[in-house]
Symmetry: C2
Subunit: 420 residues, 2 copies
């Protein structure tokens, strides 16, 4: 049944198909990189223009009140909450993922080490996204703590037992492999060992089912510019379980986190709840674009919401895997992403001992935009909001042609660029 | 000579007058709040639209390379450098002022306390902008240091002599009073006492002459959305003297500060130079608007640059002071901003024992947009890029009418809003 015709039939029967029209996808492009930068929702351009020309241009400083700018980090946080299993008032859209991780990891370490002074270890995976490790290294250096890394997820249960672990810091879906952790199981295990759980949802929010409250997680951060389609460098988000919200401050104690920022008092008094995870004035134009990205995601709600998105995402990645194995057999591609649905995010990664970078470049030249991730990974993201089954067929067909023709060996596909 | 006719004559003779046309100022508004949020440059809307529709919509992830997004924090930093007396490669546009202060104060404390371990004090003014004090309080708590505040600028020389001061942290132009420090003198004094100098240029960059290299300052931060006209919540900037650039890292050690971010190595290796003051992915739409704000400022270069801007700024604030004293005499307004040019920023602040908030609201209702700053300050910013002498005349005339009519006592002008 793996025919182009069958793929077209599945698109015709897909209840999520109309959502594709919400996005401005260029002609001739199959976009398998929405896990790096989500595409432009059609409505975003007009909304950003209105913010620039009307709210800023006409409203000027008054728009902090009249256009709701001041409330945006909390209002948009509450919108994200609906996609990550959080309640109202628990999430804030602000700053970058790296900075938000510094805030929540800082609070987690403070709580953990106050409750159990002997614990000084942050446990994570060596394969975690590097910025998470860098931030944790830096904070551990500040606090006299230790970042301890395991080489494989299976080592986590053993590593939690040492009695010196304060915080388990994991990324829910691995950026290189697409492998997904069982958040509820690992959080439960961490708690049974007296360890707090901090989750990075960069590749999860809007992509896979996330239930922070259901998993009883402690803290989370995530990204606005991937599956939330908030635009390049969109503000990130931070979530704090209500049981921790009022307990500790974080050291990025800027005026937006103050209980009464416009009283301009010299003494810091943290705001109650999630607002204390704010810091300085936020980039309004970029927040507005993130708001539009959430509009596009929310359009999936009446069509089945995350259940429907997840079912289609798995169908797309299943199809991609099956087509690659059938049509690119003998091309030395190795599936890196787990086959088990429960362990798979919304991307498929292939490794190849030779030419991974160049093959991705050759595909991009043919309009199939994926990602290379060092040292040998071809990474393909599948976003059910705007991708169809025929897209998957066509992407694999281009991959097959690139491999069989050997065109990826051309010099122009082997020049490394600064950013990929 | 303080006549409307004389003001019009000065506008007619003003070589900077054509710059006003670069800004989209609403009809009927005299905007004296560019020190809180600069107005919209006319060119910004089209440039942001191009970034949204073409660079993001068509270019997608490729635009990190092809549209120069990745270089923007450093490229825009270098543009700002030209207005603050910094050399190339010393400034970066990123994050918020609060977060950048955390970075540079962190580095300053690390350097100062390594070189002179007995020094644990950050010295500042109680009247500094609160977020600076909050960030310093938080960082001092992390580091076991002390934030010590003086009540008046005259106390700074004495306070520097204690032998325990590590860092002097000042805002160049005070946000409430408009009083300007002598950066070179205070930095020199600090250095003679073995103290590093960190300057906040929020109300200085683009507004008054700043020469960080000439003053031999150590670190600086500043704001993108005031006199740089970068739009609401525009990214801020950080500057580091080259002698410190490679010496210490800062704890917000995200991947953008890594020597090779796209090698995705688990170990943190800070980039050489100013790039290590970056952290996470930056809000591109807001950076692009900041770039446009700098275009508008740079348009003053062939017309005399900062010398011409400063001369006109002082002429505008001199005129405002003189007109208020002449035409609003007996109205209990007290000049807070220094009369001495060398001690004045680009704003004039008046205090009034009663009604300051309501008077500002009544002025706003008449189209004269200034700011209230608690507890009793009427704050008026004068930006020579787009304000003229007739504007000053008209603003004072409206103030006179508001005061003489008593209309500020109406209930609608006395309801406090969340943000002002």
């Amino acid at each position: 049944m793996l025919t182009l015709q069958a793929c077209r039939a599945r698109d015709a029967a897909d209840p999520l198909r109309p959502l594709r029209d919400l996005f401005a996808l260029p002609d001739g492009v199959i976009y398998l990189d929405g896990n790096s930068l989500g595409p432009l929702p059609r409505a975003t351009a007009a909304r950003v223009a209105r913010t620039v020309e009307h709210e800023w241009g006409e409203g000027l400083i008054r728009s902090w009140n009249t256009a709701g700018w001041y409330e945006m980090p909390r209002r948009i946080g509450d919108r994200i909450a609906g996609w990550i299993g959080a309640g109202p008032g628990e999430t804030v859209a602000t700053d970058t993922t790296s900075i938000n991780l510094y805030k929540v990891l800082s609070a987690a370490l403070a709580i953990a080490t106050e409750d159990q002074p002997g614990r000084r270890v942050v446990l994570s995976e060596r394969s975690n996204f590097p910025t998470d490790l860098y931030i944790a290294q830096a904070l551990c250096a500040e606090r006299g703590c230790e970042l301890r890394l395991v080489d494989a997820p299976q080592e986590i249960p053993q590593a939690l037992q040492g009695g010196d672990v304060a915080v388990l810091m994991l990324t829910h879906v691995n950026y290189r492999t697409g492998a997904m952790h069982d958040m509820a199981a690992l959080t439960g295990l961490a708690h049974r060992h007296g360890v707090l759980a901090v989750w990075d949802l960069a590749h999860s929010a809007g992509a896979v089912p996330v239930d922070l409250q259901g998993a009883d997680a402690d803290f989370a951060v995530g990204c606005g510019y991937k599956y939330l389609n908030g635009g390049p460098g969109a503000p990130a988000f931070a979530w704090v379980h209500p049981r921790h919200a009022d307990r500790f401050w974080q050291p990025l104690a800027g005026w937006w986190s103050h209980a009464a920022p416009f009283e301009f008092t010299p003494e810091y008094q943290p705001a109650p709840g999630i607002a204390r995870y704010l810091c300085g004035t936020q980039p309004v134009l970029s927040l507005v674009a993130l708001d539009c990205g959430l509009d596009a995601l929310d359009a999936a709600r009446p069509l089945g919401g995350m259940d429907a998105l997840r079912a289609k995402s798995l169908a797309l990645t299943d199809l991609f895997i099956a087509l690659v194995e059938e049509r690119c057999a003998g091309q030395a591609l190795v599936l890196v992403t787990p086959r088990e649905h429960a362990q798979r995010g919304s991307q498929v990664c292939l490794s190849r001992p030779e030419g991974a970078y160049a093959i991705v470049q050759a595909l991009i030249a043919r309009g199939v935009i994926g990602d290379f991730r060092a040292p040998d990974i071809l990474r393909f993201g599948f976003t059910p909001l705007y991708l169809g089954f025929e897209d998957v067929w066509n992407a694999v067909e281009q991959l097959r042609q690139v491999l069989e023709s050997g065109e990826w060996q051309r010099p122009e596909f082997n020049r490394q660029q600064a950013v990929t």
